[in-house]
Amino acid sequence: MNLLYATLGLIALYIYVSFASLLWEGIDRKLVARMQRRVGPPLLQPFYDFLKLMSKESIIPKHANKFYELAPVLALAVSIALLAYTPMGFAPLFATKGDVIVFIYLLTLIGFIRVLGAISSGSPYAQIGAQREMIILVSREVPMMLALFTILWRLNNIGVEKPFSLATFYQRNIWELGTPLALIGTFILLVVFLAWLASEIEVGFFDIPEAETEVAEGPMAEYSGRHLALFELSNAIKMFVSASLVVAIFFPWGISAYVGLNGIPALVVDVLFHTIKVFAVLFVSMSIFRAITGRLRITQAVQVFWLRLFPAAIIGSLILAIDLLGVIA
């Protein structure tokens, strides 16, 4: 019975997140257009795009192998599976101890499937894009993992029910520590996470693999029609999920308790409030970042990850660890 409810919940979540994430893309495009004194597309533009792509003929290149057609389906399947482990204003549906590894694994797997799909197309543009995506992929996850594990470890030390689960953020959060040192560390990690978010959804500095003007959409160069639509949808879901992670770590507060709700209405209110927070985080990390920065070269991006973000994550983690020792008030 429990499993049945979880399945229904996952389907509901999937429908909701697809809607919300595509809606955000519309808002984002509108906002960026306004920042550049343009009118911009209507809010529902991504939905029109999606429907149009679904109705178009999908052209399979002559050199493509079986995985080319399989990859978009797998990518969407993995992003739906990922929703079951994502904190959405309430604890993830399948929250268990240690589920953070599943979360990171599935999130990375989406990127990897994209890469595989791209090289399966046999196009040199896609190959170059795929190589870049792979380089970014291995660089960006390291600072994020370090920061995430440090925070979970730190929360584990103040006592949680399920250690190393994304559900812990709704029990304890990192601001509860309260000491000045912990605040400094948390702020540093927040910056790391915002930068990671920008690179995960590939905007601004990190729009490198897709690089429209440079390698003609990179990994997606050969995809068209339905297959491209599926990829776009899975990307949108991934964007929402990544932002949800940042929100859950740093801003996990719900409002249902304050307005005195419980049961189903509380869930709905929490999800809506969570969505607003996700939009706010995405506004900072995506819209503004996208509007005011240009693309880096791949070598520069790798340097940003290993020489800026990774040291920042180390410093933030060390500060949190020192705070635990209690040597400095």
């Binding site: 050199h63 196009s123 190959q127 792979m134």
Partner: protein, 511 residues
């Protein structure tokens, strides 16, 4: 009735009857080899099931009902003593051997002298089965030599190729040296204690641990590390595996280095020596070689351009994980961490046998259909050989240790226990996996990339080669879906049973 002797009788009968069967017809010869190995698998499964169900060590005495001599309190006969670990490895050996033999029906079709080939492959299986069931240390040496000599011959089976002969000679010269170290160790033990039964020897060494017993252990351990392909002595493996026919590579990499190397190390350290020596020091010696093996094996795999050579180095790397598990199992003997590490090592032994066999069968299929194993010439294979590429994808994902497949659970146990025992070791293990991932992703990119001229005419191989691959894929996936159940019901009891050396001794000597 005790079916244990049939584990040896059947392959022996199959091997010795092969030259006669061949006289009747060539077709019958092939079927005969398949039947013999299938029946062996049946017997092995039965032995395993009996031991697993009763949780008792099975002892079989050759020539009498009791191992003890008339009127004396010590064993005078050869005993076969099988605990869960032995039985588990025996099932793995029989399973992979059966698949390798089915695979060779098509793979070896173009070669000549196949009656010798099937005889040798059955003898190889026989030698490995003998190693895992024996409880007598000289009997162990004999079976080790049976296995080794059969594998020398099989590595050099294609004696019209220069690389087969070269690898065979290399393997034989150093392999014989390693075997003679082991023999020297056994001779020293016999000279000191006057017995060859492992159980009795264990009791003796516990009572009076002498310097000689330590020297003997050093010789035996050195020889066995060679047989398992641990790092300073791994060079034969990287030549032997690419040069052998692929069905043989699958057995060499999946089984020979496990039965003759890892299993024997575990047996000798746990059942003969564990309660008599400074186990912490021994554990750290094993851990030292394990770390070296992990790093060097996986790092060397990254730079290879020859597919089978890459898999061979990857085997070296995976042996590092297994040795790490065993080393921690010894160093943290009797604690929870030690149990978990040992269970992880045993689990990884079985898993790696299955997935590396799968990968070598894939390499064989590519070599058979395209005619090259150079990775630079093989790009875009996925379009022409979708099934083979899928098999590779599953095998590679399993060996890296991705969650829905079987490699995840076993590696997780090893990571977890090494992190709890000493975080530095966990860091080394993770580094090894990073190299391993890089190596396999490189091959994956070759498989999926743009089609090259060489692969234009390739297509998937026939049924006899595809069926073993599919069976192995199914095994990988099923074991991956039930990891913790398998761990709790099979691997942990196996590790417990291996650790209780008192029981091992009592099973032979009586209460």
């Amino acid at each position: 009735m005790n079916v244990l002797p049939f584990l040896i009788i059947i392959p022996l009968f199959g091997a010795f009857s092969m030259p006669l069967v061949k006289l009747i017809s060539e077709k019958l010869r092939d079927i005969w080899a398949v039947i013999i190995s299938a029946v062996t698998l049946g017997v092995a499964t039965d032995v395993f099931y009996t031991i697993w169900k009763t949780n008792q060590i099975v002892v079989y005495t050759l020539g009498a009902t009791t191992p003890l001599g008339k009127g004396v309190g010590f064993p005078i006969r050869i005993v076969w003593e099988v605990d869960l670990l032995g039985a588990l490895i025996a099932v793995t050996i029989a399973f992979v051997s059966l698949l390798a033999i089915i695979y060779s029906l098509e793979y070896m079709k173009h070669d000549t002298g196949l009656d010798k080939y099937y005889t040798l492959i059955l003898i190889l299986e026989l030698g490995m089965l003998g190693i895992v069931i024996t409880g007598d240390i000289f009997n162990f040496y004999v079976f080790l030599e049976i296995m080794s000599i059969a594998s020398y011959a099989l590595v050099a089976f294609r004696n019209d190729t220069w690389e087969g002969i070269e690898a065979g000679i290399k393997y034989m010269f150093v392999g014989s040296l390693a075997s003679s170290f082991i023999l020297l160790g056994i001779a020293l033990l016999y000279g000191q204690y006057g017995t060859l039964t492992m159980a009795y020897l264990s009791q003796y060494i516990t009572r009076e641990p002498t310097f000689v017993s330590k020297v003997a252990l050093a010789f035996i351990l050195g020889g066995l590390l060679f047989k398992s392909g641990a790092v300073p002595v791994h060079m034969w493996l990287a030549d032997a595996h690419p040069a052998a026919p692929s069905s043989i590579s699958a057995m060499l990499s999946g089984l020979v280095i496990k039965a003759g190397g890892v299993y024997a190390i575990a047996r000798i350290l746990f059942s003969i020596y564990s309660i008599s020596l400074n186990i912490k020091a021994i554990g750290w010696i094993v851990i030292f070689f394990a770390c070296l093996t992990l790093i060097v094996g996986n790092a060397m795999a990254v730079v290879q351009t020859d597919m089978k050579r890459l898999f061979a180095f990857s085997s070296v790397g995976q042996i590092g994980y297994i040795l790490l598990g065993i080393g921690i199992g010894i160093a943290a003997y009797g604690t929870k961490v030690g149990d978990v590490a040992l269970a992880g090592a045993i689990y990884h032994t079985v898993n790696h046998a299955i997935m590396k066999a799968l990968l070598f069968l894939v390499a064989g299929a590519v070599l058979h259909q395209v005619g090259t194993k150079n990775l630079n010439e093989l790009s875009g294979l996925a379009r022409r050989m979708p099934l083979t590429s899928f098999a590779f994808l599953v095998g590679a994902a399993a060996i890296i240790g991705l969650p829905p497949l079987n490699g995840f659970a076993s590696k997780w146990l090893i990571y977890e226990s090494s992190a709890l025992y000493n975080p530095f070791l966990a860091a080394i293990a993770i580094l090894g996996t990073a190299f391993c991932t890089a190596a396999y992703i490189r091959v994956l990119f070759t498989f999926f990339g743009k089609e090259s001229e060489k692969v234009k005419a390739a297509k998937d191989p026939g049924k006899a080669m595809v069926i073993p691959m599919i069976l192995l894929i199914i095994a990988v996936i099923i074991m991956g879906l039930l990891p913790w159940q398998i761990n709790d019901t099979i691997m942990l009891p196996t590790a417990k049973m291996l650790e209780e050396s008192g029981k091992y001794v009592l099973a032979v000597l009586g209460g």
